[in-house]
């Protein structure tokens, strides 16, 4: 909270710098703004930037250095008894001291030595923070003073300000690249560590998935098996079920909306369908687990079938409902893009509307439709919450949609939720699965774009 107060005060200082710079510019120009190279507020911005930017850089550097310094101080001030501890005990001790200093729960009763260490640590951090605030203010005031003294009518303030703005924009636009690099880098790095423990071929072609690693080495099933085929099969099955629901409903809705519906119906139905895409997936998961799955189970029982309460069917169907708008809105767009002349030509030959749609419009729009379906498949594969809540956990290699299956995303979540040691094979397996997921969805997306671009008919 005090950081927030400090930051607001800091912003006020920058605002003051702005005001000062502008006033100074007008004074040096003798009150005639036309004498200045730039508009007066550029001088204000110039001073404000000099006031804010260096101070923020200092703050950034401090953020990086402070934990390091605090760590040094902590190790230097450790109680004498710590010298004999092993590395693991030492790190536990350090964690305890840190927790004690921040008022958290510790793993042992606090003895006076520990409290003393924690207090000196907390004191150092407090002093450090106050020092940082002080240095920031000093740098800001210094920058302000320097810039203010540079404000003269011939100073090209606008050019400087615009240069800063341009650099800021360039930095902002590289964040997207950095995100991708971060995703690929972290997935690859962790996945490679996983493949050092489990051979790549075993992961890709193994038929047995039971990632529980035992607590003791002599326990039964201590090794854990990481064959991902059951997960891929489960993902495929749920995706296929979802597409069996989404493609017909989505396609027919799109056909009706683009070819039959009047503008009024269109204007109401289209947003309503898009609501389906806006409902959070956790809500679909709840619906699947508490309404659809029990319904299928009871319905199956009345027919004498055993339906698992976490059947692939329920999860897949609800996922299909979620995906309807992806198929329908994309197909609708491409069918609308088919020129009216093609329709008129078909009608002139005596075709009915349905015949025109089936034999002229859908074939002409097919690349777009296929692209939309591919995007929908990629969405289905990556969908998480519905399957986490409504599909099973146990890896089950089956072709029966009434049984429980598990998917790649379910396993990623179950492997990582809760506290785990960071580099066990179990945790790393999630990253390997994530890498597979990322690759497959990426390929599907690229393929979809490619299909749309390559096979699009050009009519104009």
């Amino acid at each position: 909270m005090e950081t927030l107060i400090f930051l607001s005060a800091f912003c006020l200082l920058c605002a003051f710098g702005f005001y000062l710079g502008r006033a100074r510019a007008l004074v040096t120009a003798g009150g005639r703004a036309s004498e200045l190279h730039s508009r007066p507020h550029y001088y204000g911005s110039y001073v404000a930037i000099w006031c804010g930017l260096p101070a923020l850089l200092v703050a950034g550097a401090w953020l990086v250095l402070e934990p390091l310094l605090a760590g040094w101080v902590l190790t230097a001030n450790l109680p004498a008894s710590a010298a004999t501890l092993s590395e693991g005990q030492l790190s536990l001790l350090i964690t305890d001291i840190k927790n004690l200093a921040t008022g958290n729960v510790t793993s042992r009763a606090a003895d006076p030595e520990l409290i003393a260490a924690a207090e000196s640590y907390a004191r150092f951090r407090d002093i450090g923070r106050i020092a940082m605030f002080g240095v920031m203010v000093a740098v800001a005031v210094g920058g302000l003073g320097y810039a203010r003294q540079r404000v003269l009518p011939r100073l090209r303030a606008r050019n400087s300000v615009e240069r800063v703005a341009m650099v800021t924009m360039q930095v902002a636009s590289t964040i997207a690249i950095l995100t991708t690099v971060g995703i690929v880098g972290s997935l690859l790095f962790e996945a490679l560590r996983f493949f050092a423990k489990v051979p790549f071929t075993e992961f890709l072609f193994g038929l047995d998935w039971s990632p529980q690693t035992a607590l003791r080495a002599d326990q039964v099933g201590a090794s854990g098996a990481f064959g991902a085929i059951p997960l891929f099969a489960g993902t495929m099955m749920i995706t296929v079920i979802a597409m069996l629901v989404a493609v017909p409903i989505g396609l027919f809705s799109a056909i009706y909306m683009s070819e039959y519906a009047g503008p009024r119906v269109r204007a109401t139905v289209k947003p309503v369908l898009e609501v389906l895409a806006g409902v959070p997936t956790v809500v679909y998961g709840f619906f699947a687990a508490l309404t659809v799955a029990p319904f299928f189970r009871n319905f199956g029982e009345s027919l004498g079938l055993t339906v698992s309460s976490e059947s692939a069917l329920a999860a897949g169907m609800v996922m299909g409902i979620m995906i309807i708008p992806f198929v329908s809105s994309l197909s609708d767009d491409v069918m609308n893009a088919v020129p009216q002349t093609l329709r008129d030509g078909a009608y002139a030959l005596g075709a009915t509307k349905a015949e025109t749609i089936k034999q002229v419009i859908v074939p002409a729009a097919l690349p777009g439709i296929v692209g939309g379906v591919l995007l929908a498949v990629s969405r289905a594969i990556g969908e998480t919450m519905i399957v986490v809540m409504a599909a099973g956990l146990a890896a089950n290699l089956t072709a029966n949609p009434l049984e429980a299956v598990t998917t790649v995303t379910v396993q990623i979540v179950t492997l990582l939720v809760g506290d785990q040691e960071y580099d066990s094979a179990k945790t790393l397996a999630a990253f390997a699965l994530g890498l597979m997921l990322f690759t497959v969805t990426l390929v599907l997306n690229v393929a979809a774009l490619h299909v749309v671009r390559k096979y699009r008919e050009k009519y104009d």
Binding site: T179, G250, S328
Partner: protein, 438 residues
């Protein structure tokens, strides 16, 4: 025209011609019917989804309470009569409740039955009394009629979710308890009142004490971080890519990247957050699991493509004549941007931002991975406290075995959907009101 091998003898008006025409018209009607059916199915499922959630959840907005004559016996609250708030806070308020309900049913003497009797009340009901005493220590020694929260089973029974006609073994409220409740009911000591607990408390293991306020605050803080990061970065990159970037391989790469990022599954962003923000670097600068700060950063990366794509479309829609006019009177390129193009594009950018925020508000999967699933009772105060968010709270409750959580989960979903509708309505309003067609 479907069949090219038709005999040429079919002349207009002949029987075969007539028949074929009828068949074709029937196919036409059928096809049209399929289309209407598909739309009806989609809308029907949406309606079913909403109806099933509302019908399960609307009861959670009421909570059953039981009136008891409570004697604020100083002996159990503050035996030494110090009046010190710290002593008052530690008083044995459970005992007051126990005494009160036993006095109401003096005929119950069996130890086991007495315990059952106490279980009619919520195990968290004592906080009500404690808060009363802390607010006004003067009530110690007095006897008052007070409405206290009933337990979740009593609540379900009172709302008609437990049928008294099923055999005793199959319901969670015993015959004995029903007799007591009927007795209380007969004298007007049972009521349903608005469930303030649900809107003012954090999570709890007891359904009747669990609320969504903690999750709502967590969602707010998380979205605050998301907005503070993704809006400026998104708008700046959109402006740069649309107006200033040279057309070269680097900018092409950025563009392809943004389009691909928009389609990356959300779990993958969770993995990124776990490996980078909670990895060695993140821990070094003090980031921890369950922080809204970390959640907000992950969601910001997810929302960024949405905002960039919407902002670029909005900037592109501003006609070039406006730029040329501004350039013509001597504005610099950046001035054209900040004085003319951005203000005109702002409604479109804001619409895209609100839609992106709505997506972020409903997002669950990546937040599970960065530890926002923890059981958190306290209301988070700032972005570095442990917190959970509304969709994750829904997930936690949906997983809970307690039956009474079902109605609370549905109610939480209703609140979440309410916020989403509000945000989307705002986006539509902005678009309708301010967007200009050139």
């Amino acid at each position: 025209m479907t069949d090219t091998s038709l005999p040429l003898l079919d002349t207009i008006g002949s029987k075969a011609w007539d028949k074929r025409l009828k068949r074709r018209y029937a196919a036409e009607r059928r096809f049209r019917f399929y289309g209407a059916l598909a739309i009806a199915a989609a809308i029907g499922v949406l309606a079913l989804l909403l109806v099933s959630i509302v019908s399960k959840g609307y009861t959670a907005f009421w909570q059953t309470e039981i009136a008891l004559e409570i004697t604020f016996d100083g002996e159990f609250i503050d035996p030494e009569g110090t009046g010190d708030p710290e002593v008052l806070a530690l008083g044995d308020y459970q005992r007051l409740l126990r005494t009160a309900i036993r006095e109401r049913f003096p005929e119950v003497t069996e130890r086991r039955d007495r315990r059952k009797l106490s279980r009619l009340l919520s195990s968290g009901a004592d906080t009500t009394l404690r808060d009363m005493v802390l607010a006004d220590p003067g009530i110690i020694g007095s006897t008052q009629r007070i409405w206290v929260t009933a337990s979740d089973d009593v609540d379900s029974f009172n709302k008609g979710k437990i049928d008294r006609n099923v055999p005793e073994a199959d319901r969670r409220v015993s015959d004995q308890e029903i007799v007591w409740l009927d007795a209380l009911q007969a004298e007007g000591a049972v009521r349903s009142s608005f469930n303030t607990i649900f809107f003012t408390r954090g999570d709890s293991r007891e359904p009747e004490q669990a609320g969504i306020w903690g999750a709502l605050v967590g969602s707010f803080l998380t979205l605050l971080v998301t907005l503070a990061l993704s809006f400026p970065i998104g708008v700046l990159s959109a402006v740069y890519l649309e107006e200033f970037a040279p057309k070269n391989r680097w900018t092409d790469l950025i563009e392809v990247n943004i389009n691909n990022l928009a389609a990356v599954p959300s779990v993958v962003f969770g993995l990124l957050g776990l490996a980078v923000f909670l990895g060695p670097v993140g821990r070094y600068v003090g980031l921890e699991r369950s922080m809204p700060l970390v959640g907000g950063m992950v969601l910001a990366l997810m929302t960024l493509p949405t905002i960039i794509i919407a902002a670029r479309a909005a900037i592109k829609a501003v006609p070039p004549s406006i730029r040329e006019a501004a350039l013509g009177v001597g504005a610099s390129k950046l001035q054209v941007m900040t004085h003319h193009v951005l203000p005109l594009a702002m409604p479109g950018i804001l619409t895209g931002t609100i839609i992106g925020m709505a997506q972020a508000l409903g997002e669950t999967a990546p937040l599970l991975m960065i530890g926002m699933v923890a059981f958190i009772v306290d209301i988070p105060g700032w972005i570095d406290d442990s917190a959970t968010v509304l969709p994750v709270q829904i997930f936690i409750w949906a997983d809970s075995p307690e039956r009474a959580f079902v109605e609370r989960t549905s109610a939480a979903i209703m609140v979440l959907l309410g916020f989403l509708i509000l945000m989307n309505a705002l986006a539509v309003l902005l678009r309708k009101r301010f967007e200009r067609r050139w």
